[in-house]
């Protein structure tokens, strides 16, 4: 599988006044392969949304590098980025906020086509119709306004807009977290159907661990602006190597439906996530980590390959590897 | 909190300095115009012009001119109005200040009491007939222009009914506090009411909106779930939070009014305040007076803003950190 997007040591800081900085993303390196879904999971404030915006250059990087289809897009101007925009699209959590309330759903989907000069009015109309079919809306929906749609339908409009120009990459930022469970399942299925039909590549950002497991081929777990573990979805959930991943998974309340799915032993973390302004020295997880040792307080662990995955921990929990190797 | 106050007033001083520089540049450094001629007034004789040039240092660099200007204004207090044949400007302003302050402070008390009272009543009684009635009263106050209302009030109290109902109303003008609080208040009573009516309407409307928003807030629901009385919820929770934006608006309005925006009221009721002074100076193109009143106005607006920000921080703990 070829690499579609490659991020190297991406850093994004925001100014927080008095010369301090919010270190939203702090040295993230990852690869997105063509045709896969890379899940990015973490709790609020872990920098996953900011990372998503960095990956498609919706925001400028503080430092680091992003390559898309082999081309360095880190420092491209808005103008130079423009021809690349159709290939990288974003889907947001709240599609309602990104839709103009005075324009019909058909208009909203036609907009990117017009901006990027897809064709004449007839061609655009035809394409919008196709897109509505594709995302499971009917032609009758074309002339309705955003407030006439339910949350799930609005998200379908958002998705239709994103795929209108045949993108290679779609970055979806919490696209189902505002939806009811039954509707969430419909939208998740739509994502996988579209991937199959159109060969899309997804970066799927979410906080819901069940959702991320369902959609992702590989998953990156973030904590305080850093990626702490990257692994194949099945492997990550079967045996989390980073203590934070372990705690995160064990905290998910599971449905006991009597089918005997084994309950994880809960690791309850104490305290709150530290502020991204005052990061702890060493490993940023050490103040809450149940297995932290002296070394973790001083030395920041790098993301390194361990047993077929990548982990940023001095003492990863992987059977067969010596602790501290 | 102390640190915040110091920082806030430090910033106010900086703003005042910036305004003084700006005013100075507008009056003295506008290209193509001879400032001496403007200060000396229309048709000034050459001797006056030369005198002005020397005293303001127009042959010297701009920073020196600025310092000289500030010296005339604040140290020697000898800025002179040439239009009015040598009247000193600063004492004129100092005489006008108590009049304007008396007018605005009194009106402010009345409009805050009225505005907060009406707004709270309307907001709390939403859905009943009281709300639209009170708001109608507010609109009535807002839509009457001060100059018209003032003239009507004068017509009634000074002429039509002066012989009967309003025989106790003194003639137009100002009575300083030295003549007794009673006379002072009596002279200002109708100016106060006239000015306050307008602002009371605006404040009532604003507070009603804020209060209705606050009453829909989650914290009000929490307060209800706590078993508090409706009265306590309204006053201690909803009203307390709704007052925050009111206070900030009040600071702006108060500063602007003291700075001369009460002009119309002062003119209509013959009160020799700062607004009236500015008005006369503008009519005569009396530049030194205009300059003096502009800086005075700026001083009050900035000061009022600083006081309000400190009050704001007192009312809203969230801004203290910033």
């Amino acid at each position: 599988m070829s690499t579609l997007l490659k991020a190297t040591d991406v850093v994004k800081h925001f100014r927080a006044g008095r010369g301090r900085a919010v270190q939203a993303v702090n040295g993230v390196s990852l690869e997105v392969r063509s045709g896969e879904t890379l899940g990015v999971v973490g709790e609020s404030g872990c920098g996953k949304s900011t990372l998503g915006r960095c990956l498609v250059r919706l925001t400028d990087l503080t430092s680091g590098k992003v390559e898309f289809q082999g081309r360095d897009i880190t420092t491209l101007s808005r103008r130079a980025l423009r021809p690349l925009r159709p290939a990288m699209q974003l889907v947001f959590q709240d599609p309602y906020a990104s839709l103009n309330p005075r324009r019909t759903a058909g208009d909203a989907v036609a907009e990117p086509l017009r901006i990027h000069r897809y064709g004449d009015a007839a061609a655009i109309r035809k394409r919008v119709g196709e897109l509505f079919d594709l995302v499971g809306l009917t032609r009758a929906h074309l002339d309705r306004y955003p407030h006439e749609f339910s949350g799930g339908q609005r998200q379908r409009i958002g998705i239709a807009r994103a795929i209108a120009l045949n993108p290679a990459l779609v970055v979806a930022d919490e696209p189902v977290s505002a939806l009811d469970v039954s509707v969430q399942a419909q939208v998740l299925n739509l994502f996988s159907d579209l991937q199959e039909e159109l060969g899309l590549t997804y970066v799927f950002i979410a906080h819901d661990l069940g959702v991320v497991r369902h959609v992702s081929d590989r998953i990156a777990v973030m904590y305080l602006g850093e990626v702490v573990e990257v692994a194949e979805a099945e492997e990550l959930y079967a045996a989390p190597a980073h203590p934070y991943t372990d705690a995160l998974l064990s905290a998910v309340p599971e449905i006991d439906d009597g089918t005997g799915a084994s309950r994880r032993e809960r690791v309850v973390l104490t305290g709150d996530v530290p502020s991204p302004i005052d990061r702890p020295a060493g490993c940023s997880f050490h103040p809450r980590c149940p297995v932290a040792q002296a070394r973790c307080r001083t030395e920041r662990p790098a993301l390194r390959p361990v047993a077929g995955r990548q982990v940023a921990c001095h003492f990863p929990n992987v059977p067969g590897t010596a602790a501290g190797a | 909190m102390i640190g915040y106050i110091l920082r806030r007033f430090g910033a106010a001083v900086l703003v005042l300095f910036a305004i003084s520089v700006l005013v100075f540049l507008i009056f003295f450094a506008t290209p193509g115009v001879d400032p001496a001629a403007r200060i000396a007034g229309k048709n000034a004789d050459p001797a006056t012009l030369a005198q002005v040039r020397a005293s303001f240092g127009f042959d010297r660099p701009l920073p020196v001119q600025y310092v000289l200007m500030m010296k005339h204004l604040f140290v020697s207090h000898d800025l002179t109005s040439f239009v009015n044949r040598g009247t000193l400007v600063i004492p004129q302003i100092i005489d006008a200040v108590p009049v304007t302050l008396s007018l605005v402070v009194g009106a402010a008390v009345i409009w805050m009491v009225l505005g907060v009272g009406m707004g709270t009543l309307a907001g709390a009684m939403r859905g009943t007939l009281v709300d639209p009635l009170v708001m109608l009263l507010g609109v009535f106050g807002v839509s009457l222009p001060v100059y018209w209302l003032g003239e009507v009030v004068n017509l009634i109290t000074q002429k039509q009914l002066h012989g009967s109902v309003f025989s106790w109303v003194p003639p137009l003008g100002y009575a300083p506090l030295s003549q007794g609080v009673g006379q002072w208040a009596l002279h200002l009573l109708f100016p106060w009411l006239t000015l306050a009516l307008l602002y009371a309407g605006i404040y009532a409307r604003l507070l009603r909106g804020e209060l209705i928003n606050a009453l829909n807030e989650d914290y009000v629901r929490t307060a209800r779930a706590k078993g508090l009385s409706e009265r306590r919820i309204l006053i201690r929770h909803a009203l307390r939070c709704s007052l925050i934006p009111i206070v900030s608006l009040f600071g702006l309005d108060f500063g602007a009014l003291v700075g001369g925006a009460a002009l119309l009221t002062e003119v209509v009721f013959g009160l020799p305040g700062v607004g009236k002074l500015t008005y006369q100076a503008l009519q005569n193109l009396d530049l030194p007076v205009i300059m003096g009143t502009v800086l005075y106005a700026a001083f009050f607006v900035v000061l009022a803003n600083a006081v309000v920000d400190v009050l704001y921080a007192r009312l809203d703990p969230r801004v203290r950190r910033a």
């Binding site: 709790e43 609020s44 339910s150 799930g152 339908q153 009811d180 469970v181 039954s182 969430q184 399942a185 419909q186 299925n189 996988s192 906080h207 661990l209 069940g210 959702v211 369902h214 099945e234 959930y237 995160l248 064990s250 905290a251 998910v252 309340p253 599971e254 449905i255 006991d256 439906d257 009597g258 089918t259 799915a261 084994s262 994880r264 809960r266 309850v268 973390l269 305290g271 709150d272 996530v273 | 859905g127 989650d218 914290y219 629901r221 929490t222 307060a223 209800r224 779930a225 706590k226 078993g227 508090l228 409706e230 306590r232 307390r240 939070c241 925050i244 009312l315 809203d316 703990p317 969230r318």
Partner: protein
């Protein structure tokens, strides 16, 4: 079986022409945790606001019976209801970020509730606040009692809100999505806290949530709501191990799990959650729809496991 603490029968709440709660009946026994689960529009939150008399919308019509410790709450005067709210029944809400008045300290707000119901000095109320903050796991409570809400993180604020709710030792705590706005690790802490507090204080809890996982972790009894009606009710084991209503099946199936086999496509419920109509509220979305569904099925069943569905008994298994 002990007397129910709260017994709601045939609760109806209407806003104009819209029926939000349509004949809801349930009961809560002392010390029990009832999980009320459903999607948006199911009426789960509105019904609990109705129980506490917290619906303020003009024109809202509430009928039925809400008997708490032998008294019908719907028939009480405002002042009598106020004495129950916050003292005997406490309620906490979803968003801890907005649930506290921003201009007062945490301690002040807890003390306010204590002093609304008990004749104690300011000093004593403050000491109680410190003790409560300590109990819900807020570090350095002597200092934090004087902190303002914005100085707390989301998890800490929810702890503070819980501390406030428990300040008068209520017999019943109604928690409306108390962990929905929180991160999973924080949610786990809050659920642990609620479990511990129930053990210590013996309060019964009504836990309103859309998260089947949360219900499965904390509830003794489960009430599944759809379109303003109860569609299934029973013990946790009954409802989760052998659900009987097609909506419950759909809800359980459509949640992506963190363990067990991974499916390529999630089973879904077609359509979107809608309002109650004449017949079974779920009929429009139900794949097992029968002719009888034009009429609303009653909540019925045996030995405490009830469902509202016209399917023949033998077909009520997944």
């Amino acid at each position: 079986m002990p007397e129910p603490l709260l017994e709601v029968s045939d609760l109806r709440i209407r806003f104009g022409g819209f029926t939000a709660v349509d004949g809801l009946s349930f009961s809560v026994r002392p010390g029990e945790v009832l999980g009320v689960v459903g999607e948006s529009g199911s009426g789960k939150s509105v019904s609990m606001l109705g129980v506490l008399g917290l619906i303020r919308t003009p024109g809202a019509k509430i009928s039925g019976k809400v008997v708490f410790r032998g008294r019908d709450l719907l028939a009480l005067k405002n002042a009598e209801m106020r004495a129950i709210r916050g003292r005997e029944i406490a309620m906490i809400f979803q968003d801890p970020m907005t649930a506290l008045t921003p201009v007062y300290t945490i301690g002040w707000q807890i003390a306010e509730q204590v002093r609304a119901h008990e004749k104690v000095s300011k000093r004593a109320a403050r000491d109680r606040a410190i003790k409560l903050l300590d109990e819900v796991g807020i570090p350095a409570p002597e200092q934090r009692v004087d902190a303002y809400p914005h100085e707390f993180s989301g998890g800490m604020r929810q702890r503070a809100v819980i501390a406030m709710a428990l300040s008068c030792n209520p017999a019943l705590l109604i928690a409306d999505e108390p962990t929905t706005a929180l991160d999973v690790t924080t949610q786990a802490q809050i659920l642990d806290l609620l479990r511990r507090l129930r053990a210590d204080h013996g309060s019964a809890v009504v836990m309103i949530t859309h998260d089947m996982g949360v219900v499965s972790e904390i509830a003794d009894e489960v009430l599944v709501m759809y379109g303003g009606r109860a569609v299934e009710r029973g013990s946790r084991t009954e409802v989760f191990h052998s659900p009987r209503h097609p909506y419950t099946w759909g809800l359980l199936d459509s949640v992506p799990r963190v363990s067990g086999p991974r499916v390529r496509r999630l089973p879904t419920i077609p359509g979107t959650p809608g309002a109650a109509g004449q017949g079974c509220p779920f009929a429009d979305r139900c794949t097992h729809r029968l002719a009888a569904c034009a009429e609303a099925p009653p909540l019925s069943g045996t030995a405490g496991h009830l469902d509202a569905c016209w399917l023949p008994e033998e077909e009520k298994t997944r």
